[in-house]
Amino acid sequence: MKIKFFLRVFFLCVVSALASPSYAQSGAGADPRSLIDALSKADFGEAEKLIGQLAATGDARLVPALNAFSEGDLYFRKSDNLVFIGKVSGSSYELTDPVTGASAGQAAKNAVTKIKINNSLRRVIRSAMGGLTLMSPDRGIRLQAADAVLRSPSAENLELLETAISKETDGEVKARMVEARAVSLLSSDRSIDEKRAAIATIKNYGGRNAIGILMGASASLDPSLKADVDAAIASIESGQRLWDIGQNVWYGVSLGSVLLLAAIGLAITFGVMGIINMAHGEMVMLGAYSTFVVQQVIRDSAPGLFDWSLAIALPVAFLVTGAVGLVIERGVIRFLYGRPLETLLATWGVSLILQQTIRSIFGPTNQEVGNPSWMSGSFPVGGMTITWNRMWIIAFSLSIFVALLVVMKKSSFGLNMRAVTQNRRMASSMGIKTPWVDAFTFALGSGIAGIAGVALSQIDNVSPNLGQSYIIDSFMVVVFGGVGNLWGTLVGALSLGVLNKFLEPSVGAVLGKILVLVLIILFIQKRPRGLFALKGRAVEA
């Protein structure tokens, strides 16, 4: 009985030794093809081991196969359990050999089965691929590989990294590799001194990730290193504190720029013209839907232009919403000048109609508006993370603001516009065609709301309800800043944004928002005409 048990254990050890990396690495019969084929029957746990063995072959030819696996493009043929990389073509799959990359013909959809993958496997693959591509001749791939190893460190990659570092010539890649080596070293069985040096290296790199790495490693490290780890974490954290404040300001400015975008069209239709324009939000929505339509057309007819889709959508959205604005002004609002509160009712009706129109045409569900590549992802600035889309939105909203300011102050249209809103009768007796100035002013406000919609489609839902979620905030911004003052809208939007973001961490998002509303109410008591109020007798008249 006992012997039988021993035998069984012995047997298991041998089998696992046979399959273990060290064995495979020694080169005896670790055929990559059979390892890959074994994936067809493996569960997640077994697949993880197989990937380890594949990585251990050091065979760079396997990279496409691993990549395909992590993308979910690896299939096995039901008839013979052979594994291939599959790409959909029509109703069947185009198969290629995972090792050689040679074409292996086609297979019907039901003749192959996808090999299941999950997050843990993807993590293992990332690390394995990192190891395999560390020596790639392509600098970009090496950098990616170093990143991959850094994000999923494993002691197995340590020697590989050291070899790679010794051969590396590019400074940035080398630095990344050194960092990755330090991180990998912490989980290895190297000496305490080496580990201490690694901790110092990580500390020098700093940032949130470094804290995570150190905290994660501290449990398994030798107790004598604990003091070093704690000191390193404390030093990184103290450096991070200022950056955190900076980050918060950035978030605030970015929220402010979104508010500015949403409100700036309203600053014209409501602020300058005095129309309580409840359909403003729907103009933003129409702009977002214009973006969607433009992207659809581009996807169908000229996919290469996708990165330009937003640039193309801008004038389209401006014209579409401007035209709709023109129609609304001519059809409804022009009968209501001098009756501001009634514009509220009529434009509320308009907003219901526009919402339902969009719902009838596009359906009630969200539409997908893609981010062009230059608006995806993020980059670090010191201890801060800046996302590209937020950065572009801030730049975009400020440039709209400046452009609008120039139109209002410098162009003859702007002059006419100000003349009409200040004294309609006088302007008309001076030969200004006031009805058209009104119409185009409203169209301008609507058009600007439309291009705001283009930008907002990048960060929010594109659904018929889009406008509703911005309308209240927009009114708050314009009123807070002072009706009729563009600068007020700018300062109002940014200060509400920053205020919101500074309240959020301490009281939570919900209470933060409530507090901001209460502060606006109190502020209006102090300054009943907003931040940038016009003073003097003219206001009362």
Binding site: G72, T387, I459, K501
Partner: protein, 429 residues
Amino acid sequence: MTFKSKLGGALIAAVMSTTALQGAFAADDTIKIGVLHSLSGTMAISETTLKDVMLMLVEEQNKKGGVLGKKLEAVVVDPASDWPLFAEKARQLISKDKVAAVFGCWTSSSRKSVLPVFEELNSILFYPVQYEGEESSRNIFYTGAAPNQQAIPAVDYLAKEEGVKRWVLAGTDYVYPQTTNKILKAYLMSKGVAESDIMVNYTPFGHSDWQTIVSDIKKFGSAGKKTAVVSTINGDANVPFYKELGNQGIKAEDIPVVAFSVGEEELAGLDTKPLVGHLAAWNYFQSVDADVNAEFIKEWKAFTKNDKRVTNDPMEAAYIGFNAWVKAVEAAGTTNTDAVLDSIIGVSVPNLSGGTSTVMPNHHITKPVLIGEIQADGQFDIVQETAPVVGDEWSDYLPDSKNLISDWRKPMSCGNFNVASGKCGGKGS
């Protein structure tokens, strides 16, 4: 007689005459069912689809010869995402249109609003959306998931397969997330997770600026322990949340997010490439490999005349509810509420994941729990499927409800029987 009185009189007359007309022309060879889903307002985004599904199911059933030899007729009304209007419309469907059963509601608020109406007028509601549990009405069938049919298996999966040790419970500040998170917190702590390893965060409805929260999640996740986010964020707020996740570079391999309110419909509004690997837990995914599902998807695409329309979990729940009702009516031989309530318990109908779902005595149903990972094409890749689970209306992880059970079979006929005291609570008879 002043203008006002004339007007008032005319209005009363108008309402009464429409009532009378409807009554007079209700043909005897049809059975009416009510469809109570918002077609406008904030919830239209989710609910309109379910209205379409119901119309499709009715059409299909009529092709098969209807029910009890009569044609079905769907009465569609729009409660406009307005909760009191739900109650009004429910009353209208039951007492004016005399429908045999109603399929509808999405939010818990709308269900809570119509519940007294259904109990008072003794009619039947099939509610097809996952919800927080803690309810069992004689007149309502809950074909969506209770927390134990969605949340707990999802957390189990993350703990086991991904080795998650640290949890962010992020939700919209309303009852479903609050309750689910309470249950999850109790569950996780019962599994030995320290309280400091659980972060709970709530945001307002329609929250669109996720920068701070996503970076907080990142911070919380950089404590060296494997971290996951359990998201009970409600519909509209998900798109900006996922966009922010993608942009701040939170990859599923690092901090996976498992969501209970994000399905194929929600993903249709998103570029899912940066989200590959994030998870959702449901009882159905469109990607389920089953003949019955393929058939359903084909019908749906044909019915909506749109090849891009997706299917999702609440649609399956509506499908199960509808078929269970049809089967129960045929077993009872009548649409009479009491008879159907008796005959429907124990009814088993095929679900879309290839198995069957049974209506249990607690008015919840059995369903398997599926965990899926988001794919680049907006579909889910199913990484785990459990055996069918019975919906648990009274959570075992809340101190006050763990002693309650519900059994609407005679003689107990009680929605909240307290096993400790041996008494039926306030409701029931």
